[in-house]
Symmetry: C4
Subunit: 235 residues, 4 copies
């Protein structure tokens, strides 16, 4: 069994609590059904992250059921929840944490409109100000990959590295989002479904007006630096 410093134990407890609770936001915003979807959060100051168990009811997601993993996605033995299997997407989350040190949270859902764009392998164009605020431009498509090796994680990292967007739509699969912490990644998951839906509906009856690049840049800059009660900072 592992022993961590008291500071790390406190950090683990907080991330367990956050990750457990944030799954409720996926339900509240209708992004997941049955046992689908998963949220993870990095433990600050340690090479660890916390993730949802695989195939477990949303009504049963208490902090002590969350699973602690190292950055290779291995469950830490002897810790609460370790008797269960972690989310089947754990390898993809781990890959992101290993390769993107600035990322503190990862979310995956099969939310309807985001998957609809993903199935056509079509990026979501940036035609509404809320999307410029949040993603700073289009939401990109990641490669088609199936579970079984590092290909999903690699596709996420390659697509999002150097990109303003915190969301990627993996082809035929669905959205993965990243953030500075788990809550920020959940917000990106909520927002990507919202813009996927709104732009889809707008395009059903014609072409949305493009927005000038300078306006998109100005909106993104302001939102990342001014909006809210304290600067969020770029990811």
């Amino acid at each position: 069994m592992n022993t961590y410093s008291p500071e790390i134990e406190v950090a683990i407890a907080r991330v367990r609590s956050d990750v457990a609770k944030l799954h409720g936001e996926l339900v509240r915003y209708g992004l997941v059904i049955w046992t689908g979807g998963n949220v993870s959060g990095r433990v600050p100051g340690a090479d660890l992250f916390v993730i949802k168990p695989s195939g477990v009811d949303y009504d049963d997601l208490a902090p002590e059921n969350m699973i602690l993993c190292d950055l290779d996605g291995n469950v830490i033995p002897g810790t609460p929840g370790a008797e269960r299997s972690p989310s089947s997407d754990t390898a993809a989350h781990a890959y992101v944490y290993r390769h993107m040190p600035e990322v503190g949270g990862v979310v995956h859902t099969h939310s309807t409109y985001a998957v609809a764009w993903a199935a056509r392998a079509e990026p979501i164009p940036c035609v509404i100000t809320a999307m410029a605020d949040e993603f700073g431009g289009e939401v990109p498509i990641g490669p088609f990959s199936i579970i079984g090796d590092d290909s999903i994680g690699r596709g996420i990292v390659e697509t999002l590295t150097g990109h303003r967007s915190r969301a990627v739509l993996m082809q035929n699969h669905g959205p993965f989002t990243i953030g500075k912490d788990a809550r920020d990644a959940v917000k990106a998951a909520v927002m990507v479904e919202d813009v996927a839906r709104t732009v889809h509906i707008s395009r059903q009856l014609g072409e949305p007006k493009p927005m000038p690049t300078e306006a998109i840049d100005a909106l993104f800059d302001r939102y990342q630096n001014v909006y809210g009660q304290a600067p969020q900072g770029a990811l």
Copy 2:
């Protein structure tokens, strides 16, 4: 009045409780309105199944209101709930239990998007990984049949026998799903509406990318055997 062994009585009580409770999932996921839709579950170890009464409010579905039937769809006299009529789809459920011994649960709804495909008699193509996971390929269409003889049950059995899909869309009517137990059939009902909606929306703005057959096979195999806390086994 029938008398069953204590083991069978325990099994009946458990299936009554499960079937009553699972109707709540149909409401939660918006698959049913008013008194529509029905869930049934086979009683393990006996030629019996439990089904919802006909035309009764979802707020009034306690275990003791569920109806116990034999595999010909006859209500077992003298048992709780037997004073009511069983679901008008009871004959179709019974036909499935008689002809598919591996089936432990059957669900029928008129969920919106699944009915929309059914009305066009168009199978749902497998273009998203969640659908490959759950159904292993397209969701097929069953024949047009109306209530009054065995034609609905026969259409379900003929369409699903030897098919990976646990869901069939009966033409102009709606989805029937099967599972190893009632919960598994309810999950299939939830998932078939979800994929019906997502693929519909994706196709509104263009053609989804096809997925390679090998990828579909690999996803189905993994999901049926690895996902979750214990193997589910193929149906």
Copy 3:
């Protein structure tokens, strides 16, 4: 002030309670927003009906706030709720009760999909079995009429007289439904939105398969006479 026999007073109290409570079903099924929509119920054995007040919150619809009217739509002075104005659609409800003695309940909403068909003045074709069950064929369009005289009520009565459907879509306006009592009319309002939505969605990607007239007739006949715990009888 009017005095009624004890039997009529009991009937009035029951209809007040039913009408107040049934407005909650309009909210539950998403058929109304803000203060829109209205349910009324005829008082059996009297030339009276009970209807919702105008422009009042759904959270404030207690039985004593419902308004008692005669069949010309006049509020009965001195009865509970009489200090308020009745629904602005009261004249249309009254017209229906005067001219269709078999009708015991009337409902009006602006539910989304039903209004969408109404705005195109296009009847909903009967291409799903649930619609054959409930409406026995297409849901018809009523004439364009605006509030201010008897034209809405007359349009409802002329369209529905001799028609199987308990729902009419008034052009550019929305659905009115009738029933043997207020609950039956509310059910029709719930079902007409459901079939309006499902058939709309089906037609977005192609033409639904027509159903044979004989099948529609057989489904309607069975549902009206056999479904549920007791025969419903044709309206």
Copy 4:
């Protein structure tokens, strides 16, 4: 610190309470997600208005968290909530209050269907009676403007001055609505999303029938002067 007369203090307290509570209606009707959207209300008898703080959870919107501003959008120091930043749309609200003295409430959301029309810069045509009632004609488009100067407020005022509609769809951005008080502006926000959705859906399968101008005028006049429990008066 400012001191106000007892009458103004009472008015401030009431507007704080109304504005805090009315945000719940935005959630109830699905017009906002995460921390998006904002309601403000003018304080009767003073050059002040109350608005939501920026980027704060909807679960955390108590009256004492609302922020009191002058009509230039400056936070009044020393008042409850003044330690937080007001909504990032405060300048636009302030501009409206300065230039439209008859306006007592302003609401901004990114509600899905209204934004979809805004992204195409297409006014919503008046083809349903509910829209004639509420808006007296089409819902207009305002200019493309980004946050940073007075351009959003100016666009709202220029578009709505002399217009029957209490809603404007700012291009590529979303709806702003006005009203005689905060509740009236919230009602307009709820109704504009409803008509945006219904007309969108109607047009998906063909062209809605136009309504005669005289009918639109008659409906608007009646609804503004007769509907409800007391005359509303034109804004």
